[in-house]
Structures are given as C-alpha cells and as structure tokens.
Point group: C3
Chain length 157, copies 3
Amino acid sequence: MPVSDTVGLINHVQNAYARCIDDGKLEEWPDFFEDDCVYKITTVDNYAQGLEAGVIFANSKGMLRDRVASLREANIYERHLYRHFLGQAWIISEVADEVRSETSFIVARIMRDGTTDVYATGRYVDAYRLNGGKPKLRERIVVCDSSRFDTLLALPL
Amino acid sequence: MPVSDTVGLINHVQNAYARCIDDGKLEEWPDFFEDDCVYKITTVDNYAQGLEAGVIFANSKGMLRDRVASLREANIYERHLYRHFLGQAWIISEVADEVRSETSFIVARIMRDGTTDVYATGRYVDAYRLNGGKPKLRERIVVCDSSRFDTLLALPL
Amino acid sequence: MPVSDTVGLINHVQNAYARCIDDGKLEEWPDFFEDDCVYKITTVDNYAQGLEAGVIFANSKGMLRDRVASLREANIYERHLYRHFLGQAWIISEVADEVRSETSFIVARIMRDGTTDVYATGRYVDAYRLNGGKPKLRERIVVCDSSRFDTLLALPL
C-alpha cells in the first residue's frame, strides 16, 4: 500500500473543486474538466448494474458551461447553500498521464430558512489527466448512494 | 507538534477500511486486524468510566469472521448503505512497531427509500502494528458519542 | 497549484483544535490563539456584506478565557457533545511568518437523548502565525452557512 504524492495532488484539486461550488463560483466549475470530458450523476444501483442512464449527463466542457448558464438564468442556485466534504482520494491506478481515483463525498444543504440537512452522499469515480501538475477531469461519474433525488437537484456535485 | 509520515500511512489504511465497509465487502473487513485483536463498540460514557461492557466485543479475527458470516446470513446488511467520513488520524504514540492513534468518524446511513441521516459519530481509539508498512489493527475501540443505539446496529463501524 | 508542507502543518493544528473542543477540554482552547487575537462567529450573509457585527466577538486571549469560564459556570456545555469534521486547509497566502487559510467545517451535535443532527456548517477564515512550527491563530472568523443560530450556541466553533 504505497502512499504516493499523487494522493496529495488529487486531494488539493478536489478541495479547489469543492470550494468553487460552495463559494457559488459556478462559472469556474467547467474549468476543472478537460475540453473533451464526461460528467455524469447516477445512482449506486444504476452504476452497479452498468446502466448508462444517469440523472445528469454531459460529454463536453461546452455542455457544462451551458448547464451553468441555465442555472444562472433560473436563479435556482440562490435558494440554498451547499457545503461539500470529501474523504481522502483513493488512487485506483496511475498510468502515464492518467490517474483513476475514487473519493467519498457528503454534501450538506443549508436552506434559506437556516435548516441544514444531509443532501447527498456517494463517491466520485474519476479519471484525471495530470497535465504536468495541473490535473483536469477527463471523466467524473458522481455515484450517489441514494436513489431518491430531490427535484431541485441543480447544482453540480 | 511534529507532522510525521505515520499520519499519512494511518490515514491511508483507514481510508481503505472505510471503503471496504461502504462498498459492502464485509468479508475483507477482518483482514484489517491482526489475528490476535480486540474490536469493541462502546459509548463515550462507558469509555470515560472505564467500563468494559460494550455493545459489541470481539477478541480474535475469527470472531470478526463469524460476525460477518452471521450478518450475511441475516441479510440485514442489504437494507441500508453506509458512508464513512474520517478525520485525520491523531498520533498518540509511536513506540517500536506500535502506533496508537485516535480518529473522529461520522457515518451517514442511506435507507432503501433514499432517506439519509447521521447514523453515528465518535472516535476510533486504535492500536496499530505497522508490520513494515502494512499496518494492521491490534485493537480498535469504537467510542460512539451517542448512547442511543439503533437496534439495527449490525454493520461494523 | 503547489501543494506545500504548510497544508500539512495547518491540518495538524486544526485537528488538535477540533479534538480539544470535542473532548471537552475547553480550558485549553484559548491556547490555540495568540495573546493578541480576533475570534468572531458570523454568518455568510454578514460576512459577504462586510458587516462587522458577529454573533460572538473576542479580541484577546483573555476574552476567550472569560468565555470558557462562563461556559463552565453555566454548565451549558454538559448538555451536548459536538463532533467537528474539517476539510483540508486551503492556503490563501503565506507571507513571512503569517499564513492565511480557509477550511470547511461541519459540526454534528449529539444531544443527551442520543439524537444527532448537523449543528453547523461553514468555513474558518484564518490568519495563523507560524511561530517556528507551532502555529497560533492571530485571527479566526467562523463564517457559518446558516443564519439561524440555535440559542444554545455556546461552545466554541
């Protein structure tokens, strides 16, 4: 069980990712991805069965930008705050410039009236390109533990 | 306050431990322990008073295996998912091959209907044998903050 | 995006800070601060608007000690347990002996009847003096996500 520097690097980028969303800087969110990328939100049941259908699917940075634009228009994002907590990244493989990792997440949601609950838990199944120390996501599959999705699911996870 | 490499090593093993349970690979769970080990779940009140009685007690890897077997038979484990989050390990002492550490944990439980709540919080009071870079638990005392235990308490913490 | 050793050092001190409060050793809490310090609890709305008014304000270690003394007298602190979880520190700047960092936190509260809920989430906005490897807080602004504060808000965050 080697503890590589890659863990520290991935932890660092994922901390930046969580800060970006929690601080409401959604316009910067697509920049954590490669131009050619996959972003998918699915459930643990679907993922285990190999089903492709996800709650949300995008396969380019442009689609992620479109998503942010429509969120901004709808103003839905203003209703709540989110707070992400990530476990330490678990490195599955590191081959040439590509790192595959999995990371647990828990997201708390803070409603405008101050109520706070556990909004979502699950794990990120990621493929990062290292790009010489500035890793970008080539693929992020957000595997949610719960199959019950709030219809307000709007913000990126 | 030295920040030793031991912290990184223990964090890494504990990440693997959490993944093992959260991924439902219970058969692999006993392998995080030495053959001759103590595993105990107790409450913060009992622990502070030095009471031996715990909710769950095992003193060999064989007992841990028996526990997993009975969980599998009862199928209780299929009803929920769990998601562990661990703080950074705090090294209490490191003498020869043995590291004593404490680590905060929070476990979210995801019911089959999708409801998610905070299932348990507390800290692991651990004694690890380093075994040349492949640490195993000689003792894990799971000290839960709450004295109210769900009767479904079944999965390892 | 450099991953500096400072992250490890700040993570370590913050782990100690969380342990101090969660273990109920409140008398040791002021020692995480410089003699001349600022400790403030405020909300994300107030903080964003640059409002000075906070829920709690102290500008010396003496005031922190007074606060602990009054908590001990009132015995309020015995009613609940708290469990802090901190994200990885994010280093904003490091100039000479001073590090500015931000860190997400989530605090679970365990009532005497065993009920556990998410008590508070937010981020620490900190200025640490490194003091040759023994960092102390010159300023901690606790920016809570929720604007609804429990009237029992008593323990340090």
